[in-house]
Amino acid sequence: MGINIKNLYVNYGGLDVIADLSLTIPEGCFFTLLGPSGCGKTTLLRTIAGFVQASKGNIHFQSQDVTRLPPHKRNIGMVFQDYALFPDKTVAENVAYGLRARGESGDAMMKKVRHELEHVGLGHVMDRHPAALSGGQRQRVALARALVIKPQVLLMDEPLSNLDAKLRIQIRETITDLQREANITTVFVTHDQEEALSMSDQIGVMNKGKVEQLGTPKEIYATPRTSYVADFVGAANRLNVRLADANADGTARIQLGGASILARNTLPSAVQEGILIMRPEDLRLRPQAAADGQGLQGRIVKRQYLGGKTSYKLALDGDIVISVESHGDNHDGFEIGTDVSATIDPSKAMVIAS
């Protein structure tokens, strides 16, 4: 069941928190809305659920227009940030709630409940109350409750944000496994880029009520179209630059800190100024003596050892400081004060419009 959103507007107190948003989510897709708080991602999710009314535009589930349908008639499964488990009901009764609302009862229903709970590994806590569960268990009950009703779409509002780091990774897998298995169209809201990159088929990066870029995790990460996306998804050195000269093969030469490098050029032909994007992990460090004048010339001013990698700050000429992450053997081999040169593969450096 795909979701089709057309020219959607949502208005809160005279302010358009979502303005003219169109989006198509294909059937069975794990779609993530990624963005910082206040970007409108939760509002969009709640509009898809029906808890927020669209002021203009419409939302279709496949061919059915659900724009004016109240939430309880949309056949959705929703997982809330704070789980929203009914505190007075047992785990089993929580999961059974949606089935009962659909007129089911008796052994056949309880069998479904048990099956769903066993599926998320909670067959043994059926008779407990939510208060007696750990955070991860509550999350899985919420998931079972949303899935047992076989919804058309599954909506999840930052479901992992209340869990600790280890558990988050575990439940991430549970969620994607269940989603693939049920092949259910899913909209997942998060502000955590790692979550978005690791779980999604498609990501929509949101900013100020608009989808700023839409694509697969790899597209979003490797070819950010805006400086905002580059910065929000992963880390990036973002430097205002002027093209020294643009080549016909789509690369351009750029003068930076007394050196010159090659980068991919996405600017229209008349434009000379843009933003150079370089991810810290794409830069390679060498001792200056061994570099033969190639790459950006600078001096290490900060150094943070992070176990599997080391993060450096490199000062270039002209008060420019860039971040570089070194991996591999001897990644911590440069001391503060060392003169180094940093090179980057021209396909990894990119100039985009400012």
């Binding site: 008639k73 809330f80 009914f86 007075d88 009901k89 709630y97």
Partner: protein, 548 residues
């Protein structure tokens, strides 16, 4: 918990023991005296006399019936009112915010008096209808009791319910809707079970207050026997003789209230659901005819609750000739009497309530600190004993004090001390509850930080903990003051000539049917209650209802 040698060096154990001694003498000893006097007092067994006394038995039955009816009517008014104020915005909603204030400000004796002035045999409304040839039913007995008690006590249901509805996590309703139940059904299926324990708890509170109610029962029951009335009458008629029947009735009342409190505790322990990160629902605006009707009904309830204030203000300045009120003719004579001719009740009220508040607040701050932060073998007992007054009606407490300190090793009868003691013991739970609540919220690490910086424990208490408790102590002090000033049922049993307080004076004047004088004293009484509240909230920005 064992007592360790190190405990003996710190001051806390010794302070705990001192507090325990005080509580044993002034709370446990009186209660034990009541319980024993019902069986052994004067060589007679009160229980066998009770079983052969139809008036006593019917008093118990009537009290249970009355409490049941009033509890139901209070729920019927309080819960819908709470629901609409928590979930909707409508015209006139702001006056409903006055509700908690009204319960504090108007002493029960004044509610009873003013309802009587409006609907009694010679009341304003009664006479108005009589002029048209319509005879209203007599206000004495069931009709008046249920009406007045309902409008006095429904606010407790309202306050208890509105808090739980506002705190109810609205995402639960959304979850129910996302699973396929309609908005209305979601509310019933998901919200009702969660808020039911608080409704029940506040309903039971109303039940106990009706059982213990003295002022309204005395003034309006007329010939209908009620437990608190027969208890008081037994206490008066037994005088200096063996306190057999008063103790028996008092024991019945204690047992009744204890049973309800245990039931309440059981409900709370079963129903305390953990609400994770509740996101309360935003009130929805209703306008049009629905909004108008809801606004009108809600305002009506509040306005009826405010009637006593209006009646008393008018009555205080109305000319009277004995029991006859000459409505429409104004005078200052009544007020003159309060301030110039007979100011003793005013002075007494200020002194007794002031001293009781001061001692009560200091004592409860210290004892709460011991209970929460300095646990030792003694402190659980401090906790149990200091909450005993919750199970005692004022009448029972008064009897306990009279029986215990009439003569013997500590004769206090006729002194100002016993007046203060009655107020102090009766209102102690107010201070204890609010102090304990704040202390729970002060992390131990704060104290440990102070001690680690070289400040000794006792100094840390005064320099760090006490200032943090400040706001809660202030609000508890206001509550203790207002409830002490309006206290009647305990003080009327222990007072002696010349030690009348304002409430006692009002009560006696109502008994003599001198409503104009009663109104004047009543108006001053309300002023004595309101002025500190206004000063505290406006000048010192104290949140009076923080601990309620």
């Amino acid at each position: 918990m064992m007592i360790k040698a190190s405990d003996l060096r710190a001051p806390w154990l010794w302070l705990s023991l001192a507090a325990l001694a005080v509580l044993l003498v002034f709370i446990v000893y009186p209660v034990v005296n009541i319980l024993t006097a019902s069986v052994f007092g004067g060589g007679e067994n009160g229980w066998s006399r009770l079983l052969n006394d139809p008036r006593g038995l019917s008093a118990i039955l009537n009290t249970l019936i009355l409490a049941t009816i009033v509890t139901i009517t209070c729920v019927l008014i309080g819960v819908p009112l709470a629901y609409v104020t928590a979930r909707y915005r409508f015209f006139g909603k702001s006056i409903i915010a006055l509700l908690p204030l009204i319960t504090l400000v108007i002493p029960e004796v004044i509610s009873a008096q003013t309802w009587l002035m409006a609907l009694g045999n010679n009341g304003l409304i009664t006479r108005f209808f009589r002029d048209f040839g319509i005879q209203l039913p007599t206000f004495y007995g069931w009709f008046g009791l249920v009406t007045v008690m309902t409008f006095v006590y429904y606010t407790y249901v309202y306050i208890g319910t509105v808090a739980s509805i506002s705190g109810f996590d609205a995402t639960l309703e959304e979850a129910a809707q996302s699973l396929g139940t309609s908005p209305a059904l979601s509310r019933i299926k998901v919200m009702l079970p969660v808020i039911l324990p608080s409704i029940l708890a506040s309903a039971l509170l109303v039940f106990t207050m009706v059982v213990g109610n003295f002022a309204i029962s005395m003034i309006l029951s007329n010939r209908l026997p009620l437990l608190s009335v027969v208890t008081y009458q037994a206490a008066v008629s037994e005088g200096g003789a063996a306190p057999v029947m008063q103790s028996t009735y008092a024991t019945v009342s204690v047992v009744m209230v204890m049973l309800i409190l245990f039931f309440n505790r059981w409900i709370i322990s079963r129903g305390r659901f953990e609400i994770v990160q509740g996101r309360g629902a935003k009130p929805v605006s209703i306008t049009g005819w629905r909004g108008a009707i809801i606004g009108l009904l809600a305002s009506l309830i509040v306005i009826i609750s405010l009637v006593p204030l209006a009646v008393i203000a008018v009555g205080a300045f109305t000319v009277s000739r004995g029991p006859v009120m000459q409505w429409g003719n104004w005078t200052l004579a009544n007020m003159e009497r309060v301030f110039i001719n007979a100011p003793q009740p005013l002075v007494n009220s200020l002194i007794y309530a002031g001293v009781a508040t001061l001692i009560g607040i200091c004592f409860s701050a210290l004892v709460s600190y011991l209970i929460i932060k300095k646990r030792n073998a003694v402190t659980p007992w401090l906790d149990y004993i200091s909450s005993i007054p919750l199970a005692l009606s004022g009448t029972v407490l008064g009897i306990g004090l009279v029986v215990s300190f009439n003569a013997g090793w500590l004769p206090l009868t006729g002194t100002a001390t016993i007046m203060v003691l009655a107020l102090l013991v009766r209102r102690l739970p107010f201070g204890m509850r609010s102090s304990q609540a704040t202390l729970h919220n002060i992390p131990n690490s704060i104290e440990e930080a102070s001690i680690s910086l070289g400040s000794p424990p006792l100094r840390t208490f005064f320099k760090v903990v006490l200032p943090m408790m400040g706001p809660a102590i202030a609000s508890a002090a206001i509550l203790t003051w207002t409830t002490s000033v309006s206290e009647l049922s305990a003080s009327i049993l222990v007072y002696s000539g010349g030690r009348e307080t304002l409430t006692i004076q009002v009560f006696r004047l109502i008994g003599s049917n001198l409503m104009a004088y009663a109104s004047a004293y009543g108006l001053v009484l309300i002023a004595v209650i309101i002025i500190p509240i206004v000063v505290a909230t406006k000048v010192f920005k104290v949140d009076v209802f923080a601990s309620k």
